[in-house]
């Protein structure tokens, strides 16, 4: 899966799960401040992404450091290429 496919899948997953507009999902968008997602939403995001990509990410210590959509793209690209 290339980076563009990862971005599209992430954006669609987040848009569907949290009823967000695709326009809001820029790489710079911060989950808490711009997208209004809290720690409870973060668990749902992990579940949705694990289902979408078929990988386990919830126990990865790096994921709790992620603040923006762009950082999430990078994290997933690294996990999927490992």
């Amino acid at each position: 899966m290339n980076e563009l496919e990862i971005k599209e899948k992430v954006n669609q997953t987040l848009a569907d799960e949290f009823e967000l507009s695709l326009d809001e999902l820029t790489p710079e968008a911060r989950f808490k401040e711009e997208l209004g997602l809290d720690s409870l939403d973060a668990v749902d995001m992990v579940i949705a992404l694990e289902r979408q990509f078929g990988i386990k990410i919830g126990k990865d210590p790096e994921i709790v450091q992620i603040k923006t959509v762009g950082e999430l793209y990078g994290f997933l690209a690294k996990k999927l290429s490992a």
Binding site: S39, L40, A42, V43, D44, V46, I47, G58, K59, I63
Partner: protein
């Protein structure tokens, strides 16, 4: 990971003590799923004055079962039970029938996902084979974030 002998009393797995521990024992634990049971004795803290389980009590039973599951997983690695477990959220709760004093209930939880001590779980509460309630909940247990 060493296994805990089952069944194991809820009080040994949860921070709750005395009557505040609402489940009797954890009877099954496999992977990300667990089952607990409770018999609603007359002084059970979740019974109302009519001897019925308050409907919000289904959620507390599920939350404590989730906490006991995570407590068991933590105790496999550490010697002490967790010190903190909190119900953080609920979603899609459906109650189909009430439970009353004397009923023996089986509570089943399945972990859907985890992040930094926060877990999302699906649960069912049954009386024998009768489904009484189901839904999803989120439980926060800081020690569960440590592998």
């Amino acid at each position: 990971m060493p296994e805990l002998p089952l069944p194991i009393r809820g009080e040994l797995l949860l921070p709750h003590a005395g009557r505040m521990c609402c489940i009797d024992q954890l009877i099954a634990l496999e992977g990300q799923e667990a089952t607990a049971e409770v018999t609603l004795n007359p002084n059970h803290v979740l019974l109302n004055s009519k001897g019925q389980l308050d409907r919000s009590g289904f959620i507390e039973l599920a939350a404590q079962t989730a906490g006991a599951m995570q407590g068991a997983q933590i105790m496999c690695c550490q010697s002490e039970k967790p010190s903190l477990a909190m119900l953080a959220g609920i979603q899609g709760i459906k109650v189909y029938a009430d439970a009353s004093v004397g009923d023996c209930l089986e509570i089943h939880v399945t972990t859907l996902g985890e992040l930094d001590g926060m877990s999302s779980l699906a649960f069912t509460v049954k009386r024998q084979d009768e489904l009484l309630a189901e839904g999803r909940l989120k439980v926060f247990m800081p020690e569960a974030s440590v592998d």
